[in-house]
Amino acid sequence: MKISEQTDVEVLQAWRSGSSQAFGIFYDRYGELVYRLSLRILGNLQEAEDLTQEIFILLSRDTNYDSKRGSIAAFLSVLTRSRAIDRIRKTRSQQQHLQKWEQSISSDHDTSNSSLMENASLSERSEKVKAALADLPDKHRQVLEMAYFDGLSQTEIAKALDTPLGTVKSWARNGLIRLRESLKDSLE
C-alpha cells in the first residue's frame, strides 16, 4: 500500500521511524490544524509557528497518543490548546487577554468554504464541525468559543458578557450537548 493511503497511526509510526515522506504526509494532514489553533489562541504568527514546531517535535519523539481514546485530530487539539493556553498564562496578563478576545472573537466565525487540508476526510469533518457550530444559537456558540479558544472561565465569560453565571453555564453546556448530537456520526 502507498504510504499516502495509510492510516494516521501507520503514517505516524513510519515518521517516528525516520521516514521523511511519512512526516510530509502527516504534516500535510495536520500541520494546518495545529497552526490554526495556535494562531487563534496566541494571536501571533511567529508564536503560532513556534508552537506548531514544538507540537510536531513532541509528536515525533514521545506522546501518549492512543488511537482507542480518540482521533488524532482531537488529540492534537487538546495538546495544542493546552500548550497554547499555558504560554498565554505565562506571558500575558488576563487584562490583555480579554482585550484580545474583544477584538477577535466576533470576526472569527464563518461558514465559508475553505480547503482545510489536503486530506479529504479531515476537510469534510471540518465542514461538518463548521456547519454544526453555525447551527447553534449564537450565545451558545459564543460562550463555547470563549471558553475553548480564549481559555476563559465561566465566571470571566459571565463578566465579559454581563450575563448571570448560571445562564452562561447553561449556554455552554447545552451548546456542547447539541454539538455532540450534530456530530454524532463523526465521532464513532
Binding site: 504534516y27 482531537a74 493546552s82 461538518k128
Partner: protein, 268 residues
C-alpha cells in the same frame, strides 16, 4: 448509544464536567451518577472528543511555506533503531511509572482521577487535578526528549574518531559561541550554538563548509527563543572533509553560495 438515552439533567452534568464548570454540589451528584452508571463514562469521552473538534471550525490561515522544512529539520528521527532503543531504555530508567501508566486503560485512569477528586471540595479542584496530571505527563515527555538528546550527545562524544570545530561569533553577533561536532562513525554532525540573535521570519542561519575554496551548503536552522541551536544533521562529504566552517544569514530558499554577511566562523 446516544446522549438522549439519559435524562437532560445528567447530560448537563456531564457537559459541565467536560467544560470544567461544575459546582461543589454538582461534583457530588456527578460522583454519585458515575457510581450508579459507570457506562456513562463513554459519554464523557464523546463530549470531550466533541469539544476537541472545535478547532476544525477555524478559518483558513496558512503558516509560512518554509515551516514544513524547518519542522522536518528537527522532527524527523535520524536513526531509527538507535533512537528507539535509547528512548525505550530511557523510559525505563527515568520513568518506569510513566510506562506503566500508559498501559493502564483509560477507564482505570479515570477512576483513579475521580478517586482523588472524591476528597476534594471544589469543582475547580477536580478539573485542576486532571489538568495538572496532563501537564505533568507532558512535562515528563519533554524531559525525556531532553534526556534523550543529551544521552545521544554523550554517545556521540565518546566515539574515538570524532573531531570538533569551534565556532566564534563575528560581525553582527560577536557574543555567539558554539561548535560543530563531526562524528564519522554515526555519519552525523551536531551543531550546538548559543547567543544567536533572532532573525526575520523569511531568513535562516546557514552553515557552509569550505572545501577547495568552494562553499558548500550543509545545514539551515533558526535559533529558539533563547538564541540556542542544538541540531543533529546527516554528515555530508563536504562537512566531513572541511577544516573551515562559516555561518551566514540567508533567505529561506536554495542558495548556491552565501550572499549574507558572515556571522560565525570556525577553523581547525
Amino acid at each position: 448509544m446516544s446522549v438522549s438515552n439519559y435524562p437532560h439533567e445528567w447530560e448537563e452534568l456531564l457537559a459541565g464536567y467536560v467544560l470544567g464548570d461544575l459546582t461543589t454540589e454538582e461534583v457530588t451528584e456527578m460522583q454519585q451518577l458515575i457510581v450508579e452508571h459507570p457506562e456513562i463514562i463513554q459519554e464523557i469521552d464523546r463530549l470531550q472528543e466533541t469539544l476537541a473538534l472545535l478547532p476544525l471550525s477555524l478559518n483558513a490561515s496558512h503558516p509560512s511555506p518554509n515551516l514544513r522544512d524547518r519542522i522536518a529539520a528537527t522532527a524527523i528521527p535520524v536513526a531509527e533503531n538507535v533512537t528507539n532503543n535509547i528512548a525505550d531504555s530511557l523510559d525505563l530508567l527515568t520513568a518506569p511509572q510513566a510506562l506503566e501508566s500508559r498501559q493502564v486503560p483509560r477507564r482505570q485512569n479515570f477512576w483513579k482521577l475521580l478517586g482523588i477528586g472524591l476528597g476534594s471540595i471544589s469543582a475547580i479542584a477536580i478539573f485542576g487535578l486532571g489538568f495538572d496530571n496532563y501537564q505533568m505527563r507532558q512535562q515528563i515527555a519533554t524531559n525525556q526528549i531532553e534526556l534523550q538528546k543529551y544521552k545521544q550527545a554523550i554517545a556521540l562524544l565518546q566515539a574515538s574518531d570524532n573531531r570538533m570545530i569551534s565556532l566564534k561569533g563575528m560581525g553582527a553577533i560577536p557574543a555567539a559561541t558554539g561548535s560543530v561536532m563531526i562524528a564519522p562513525m554515526e555519519k552525523t554532525a551536531m551543531i550546538n550554538i548559543q547567543n544567536l540573535m533572532p532573525i526575520p521570519q523569511e531568513n535562516s542561519y546557514r552553515l557552509w563548509a569550505i572545501v577547495d575554496g568552494k562553499k558548500i551548503d550543509c545545514a539551515q536552522f533558526r535559533p529558539d527563543a533563547q538564541g540556542n541551536v542544538f541540531l543533529k544533521v546527516p554528515l555530508g562529504s563536504a562537512l566531513k572533509q572541511s577544516n573551515t566552517l562559516i555561518i551566514t544569514i540567508e533567505p529561506n530558499k536554495d542558495m548556491p553560495e552565501p550572499t549574507g554577511e558572515m556571522v560565525m566562523k570556525g577553523e581547525v
